[in-house]
């Protein structure tokens, strides 16, 4: 199994509070991604990183920010959680082998905003 860990695995939070999800990898892969998964929508890219301090927005980035201060850690922050951000969040990593390189996923974080 690829060395990728997400924490926490489950979280319930109140509307308006900030929330930070952590993705940690031991593979030294360059690319890291945050996705959210909702019924009928597959996986939608929130933000991704292509190196330390190098990040870019995905297709559903509003209300989210990210940081990558070390190769192994990629943090996703919900600045002020809303009920629409209730979802399952997946982190993925990918090496530098080109467009066809396999992406490895964490086990997900189930976030509920009440």
């Amino acid at each position: 199994d690829a060395g990728i860990t997400q924490s926490p695995r489950h979280k319930v939070t109140e509307t308006g509070t900030p929330v930070t999800l952590r993705c940690h990898q031991t593979e030294n892969h360059r690319y890291m991604y945050w996705y959210r998964q909702d019924p009928g929508h597959g996986l939608r890219l929130i933000h991704y990183s292509y190196g330390v301090k190098d990040t870019d927005k995905g297709e559903v980035s509003d209300g989210y920010s990210v940081s990558r201060s070390k190769t192994e850690d990629f943090l996703l922050t919900l600045e002020s959680a809303t009920s629409s951000q209730t979802s399952v969040y997946f982190c993925a990593i990918r090496g530098q082998g080109g467009l066809n390189t396999e992406a490895f996923f964490g086990q997900g974080t189930r976030l509920t905003v009440v």
């Binding site: 690319y31 991604y33 009928g40 996986l43 890219l45 995905g58 997946f90 990918r94 992406a103 086990q107």
Partner: protein, 111 residues
């Protein structure tokens, strides 16, 4: 934005039946990947197709990349309950190092 549309969204069949699921786009993709996701887990790569018209086989699963590289299909022969899961296609996004996914096909194979 390069969109990938998958069909059908849901499929429930009996063990032993054959099925095909589709991944379509109006854009040309340099490659497409297929992933399978089981409940409570992250997706796992099944195959990558890179050449128009390419066919790859993985036991009872056959993957095809369209000649124009705008579509792909996954055919399962004699489906087993262990094939149950969410099947996702994915391809490079608007920036080359992005990875964009289709909405998925949720397959249930009943014994």
């Amino acid at each position: 934005t390069q969109l990938l549309e998958q069909s059908p969204q849901f499929l429930s069949i009996q063990e032993g039946e054959n099925l095909t699921v589709y991944c379509n786009s109006s854009s040309v993709f340099s490659s497409l990947q297929w992933y399978r996701q089981e409940p409570g887990e992250g997706p796992v790569l099944l195959v990558t197709v890179v050449t128009g018209g390419e066919v790859k086989k993985l036991k009872r699963l056959t993957f095809q990349f369209g000649d124009a590289r705008k579509d792909s299909s996954l055919h399962i022969t004699a489906a087993q309950p262990g094939d149950t899961g969410l099947y996702l296609c994915a391809g490079p996004g608007r920036a080359g190092n992005m990875l964009t996914f289709g909405g998925g096909t949720r397959l249930m194979v009943k014994p």
